[in-house]
Amino acid sequence: MRIYDLATAEQDFIAEVAARSHQDVRTCYQCGNCTAGCPYTFVYDYSVSQIMRLIQLGQQETVLRSKSIWLCGSCQSCTTRCPNRIDVAKIMDVCRHMARERGYATEREVKLFADSFLRSVERHGRAFELGLMVDYVLHSGKVFTDLDLAPTALARRKLPFQPHPIVGRDQVERIFQRFRQGGAHA
């Protein structure tokens, strides 16, 4: 087990999470309600209330390298039921942002799928499902992903072969470009 030296709490990290999420992490009193309701606990390495605690303790590395922040489904159960009205799901989101910015990807496939999705949107203006699946398979190397579903999906005409390009495609593309150029610090 990891032993934390309490004196090494990274205050900057605590402050950054608080500032970016607009949540006061100190108000968490570890009741566990978020964990109690979180449907994803079974795949987490740290339960969501433990993530909250680790943030309070300023344990940046443990939090940002955890699997949990990638596996959170943003289902809002934690936020809805927190007795201290903490928007926990938003904190999970913010941790994900920070992990990404530091180049971490503890759950590689989750990250790659999001990347593929956004690439698809950037390219076509809308998500093109077949295209993004192909993109994802190429990037992740997971060739067998959902291959079993392909016949059904195709038979039910669920995956059109053509994207639906839109006129304002380049407007969307520019959103991404400006974002990458650092147009948004949040």
């Binding site: 108000t27 566990g32 309600n33 964990t35 109690a36 309701g37 039921r81 201290n84």
Partner: protein, 661 residues
């Protein structure tokens, strides 16, 4: 005037952020100040002696102490100056602790502020007059509102102390919540066995007059002389005659009346005695469900009653009593857990409250003391208790701890095992609060001896599966989610102010805190007194309290009442309004506005109407002073001149301009 000024260090409480010497030095320059010094602890014995010495040595006739809030030590120092031979109203305080040193850290600013507050006090004092209190007679009778265990204790102790007691209870029987409990922690003795005899004592005590199904309608007067009107609700049974035989209950065909005593777990006959040990043991009719009252026929009870005491035409009755003191003991009510939609909001009959569970455990309850769950009457084998429901939860505006639910949950877990040996209890908790004598040992027994499984974490949701309820919570010690399939879920619902407390508080001029509990005069030093002289608090109406604490407070309030009523006469506060007849034009405006009816119009010897204040009735609010168009009625020590002088001390006039310029 020859004024002395004393600046208190309060150890480092004041001196830490106020340069007390500089303040004293500055005070020497104020008008009429002939002596100024600083002192380590003004309220301590040497501190007070120092003041007395200075008064004598410097021939002072007025004293200013700059220290803590006057709400704390004004009476102390008034006594001090009196001991020094001055009139006790030739004294003023400047609050340089709560309002200065404790709220700011900047010594320079604090020192300036403290100096100005001292100047203000000096300016006020310069306009003080010596005052002498009047004396008035005390009514030797006490009103106790609320007949829970706290009210019962207060009533019995007052009666034993020789005072007449009027006990007013809203419900049909006294006993409060304790009467509904099965056993009580930390000893697991039977609730009705310990409370029952006390209830009987109330009924039999010659000095106690009991009014149940009654509420306080209005209150007027002041300490020593309250006039109280009590509304006794129509019960449609002549209680003078009713013997409590219960024949009517057996015969009444309308048996679906709500049963608040059993926490609505079952229904009751429309004419009912709520429980066998009820005091008074008298029947009453619920007019909502009575066939006679609703449809004009039936009357079976009237036919069967052997003493013919049914009276369908009975009306509410108003009773007036004069009392010298009032004890408020209105207890608490339970948080409405339906505000938690994740616990089913009443969709699942087997999710019940702790108090409902007490009724299921109680031999006098709807199941005769056998634990049967509401949905199908089956005996539950797995019982889940959830603590802090409606407590310590900001999202439902209940951030406080309800104090005794940890303890009664442990009790209920123990009793569950007693009743059903092959059962398993689970208790979801956040912390265990068991600070009383033998309390923690008790909760440990629940775990160690009775095998209750304690799980540290809240419960996020309850949902049905088959005929069970899946309780999904967290075990934060194990760091993960847990689930358990329960046959019965008991919510340890939190405590909140008794319904109607706000209205009663208004009548008694007792202030509720932001959650509706009545505020005591001082949280440490005057826990059963209120800011309204002669009105005392006992039990859970002041904040969550278990039975031992409620009883202790009942006795404490009684001691305060007895100390008050032992006096034949009381002194009235002479800081009251006074009329200058020469100015008064007799317009009567003040008479109309005085909330206490303390002013009357009298004729002077020329037959002109003039206002006159009844000194013992005036409460010193000063509303009349503002109302009077002539400035003829002035509140002593808060006169227009004095307040304007204080304003002037803080804001010296800075404009010296003429219209001409």
């Amino acid at each position: 005037m020859r004024i002395g000024v004393f600046i208190c260090h309060c150890g480092s409480n004041i001196a830490g952020t106020v340069d007390v010497r500089a303040v004293a030095q500055a005070a020497k320059g104020f008008a009429d100040v002939v002596y100024a010094s600083d002192t380590m602890y003004a309220c301590s014995e040497p501190g007070q002696e120092g003041i007395i010495q200075a008064v004598r040595e410097h021939n002072l006739d007025g004293v200013v102490v700059a220290s803590c809030t006057p709400r704390m030590h004004e009476p102390t120092f008034r006594r001090t100056v009196e001991r020094a031979g001055l009139n006790r109203y030739c004294f003023e305080m400047a609050n340089i602790r709560e309002h200065v040193s404790w709220i700011g850290k900047d010594t320079e600013r604090n020192t300036i502020k403290a100096t100005e507050l001292v100047r203000m006090a000096v300016e006020k004092l310069r306009r003080n007059r010596p005052l002498t209190p009047k004396r008035f007679d005390v009514t030797k009778r006490v009103l106790v509102v609320g007949g829970g265990v706290a009210g019962i204790q207060a009533a019995l102790d007052c009666a034993e102390g020789g005072q007449e007691v009027v006990l007013v209870e809203r419900e049909q029987s006294i006993g409060g919540k304790m009467a509904k409990l099965d056993k009580t922690f930390p000893t697991i003795d039977c609730s009705s066995c310990v409370l029952g005899p006390k209830m009987v004592d109330v009924a039999q005590h010659p000095k106690i007059t009991l009014h149940t199904m009654a509420e306080v309608e209005s209150v007027s007067g002041y300490v020593g002389n309250f006039q109280v009107t009590i509304r006794k609700k129509a019960r449609f049974v002549d209680w003078e005659k009713c013997t409590g035989c219960g024949l009517c209950m057996e015969k009444c065909p309308s048996r679906k009346a709500p049963d608040p005593f059993n926490e609505y777990l079952c229904t009751a006959p429309t004419i009912n005695i709520p429980f066998p040990q009820a005091i008074p043991k008298k029947a009453a009719i619920n007019p909502e469900t009575c066939i006679m009252k609703q449809k004009g026929k039936c009357g079976l009870c009237a036919k069967i009653c052997p003493v013919k005491c049914i009276d369908f035409d009975q009306q509410d009755e108003l009773v007036t009593v004069d009392v010298g003191a009032i004890v408020v003991a209105t207890g608490y009510d339970l948080f409405d857990w339906h505000k938690y939609p994740q616990y089913g909001q009443g969709r699942y009959p087997d999710v019940i409250t702790s108090l409902q569970y007490e009724r299921l455990l109680s031999a006098s309850g709807p199941t005769g003391g056998h634990i049967k769950r509401p949905s199908d009457g089956k005996e539950p084998k797995t019982v889940v208790f959830i603590q802090c429901v409606g407590s310590r939860d900001r999202s439902v505006d209940r951030p406080y701890c309800s104090g005794f639910c940890c303890m009664y949950t442990a009790k209920q877990a123990i009793l569950t095992k007693d009743h059903i040996p092959d059962s398993q209890s689970y208790v979801f908790y956040m912390d265990i609060r068991s600070p009383g004598k033998a309390y923690d040992e008790f909760t440990r027994r629940a775990m160690e001896e009775y095998g209750a499984q304690y799980v540290r974490g809240r419960v996020a949701m309850i949902y049905p599966k088959g005929d069970q309820l899946i309780v999904r919570g967290a075990d934060t010690l194990a760091g993960t989610q847990v689930e358990v399939a329960a046959d019965l879920v008991v919510l340890a619902v939190g405590v909140e102010a008794a319904r109607g407390a706000a209205v009663l508080g208004e009548k008694l001029r007792v202030v509720p805190d932001q959650y509706g509990f009545f505020v005591e005069s001082h949280p440490k030093l005057r826990p059963v007194e209120t800011n309204t002289a002669g009105v005392f608090l006992a039990g859970a109406c002041q904040g969550p309290k278990d039975i031992p604490a409620s009883v202790a407070q009942g006795s404490a309030a009684a001691a305060k009442v007895l100390a008050l009523l032992v006096k034949d006469q009381l002194e009235s506060d002479p800081q009251v309004s006074r009329v200058t007849p020469a100015r008064c034009v007799g317009c009567g405006k003040c008479v109309q506005t005085c909330p206490f009816g303390a002013i009357k119009l009298v004729e002077d010897r020329f037959g002109n109407p003039k206002a006159e204040v009844v000194e013992t009735v005036c409460q010193g609010c000063g509303i009349c002073t503002v109302t009077c168009p002539q400035g003829a009625i002035q509140l002593e020590h808060f006169t227009d001149n004095q307040i304007l002088a204080e304003v002037q001390a803080l804001c010296p006039p800075r404009i010296r301009v003429n219209y001409a310029s």
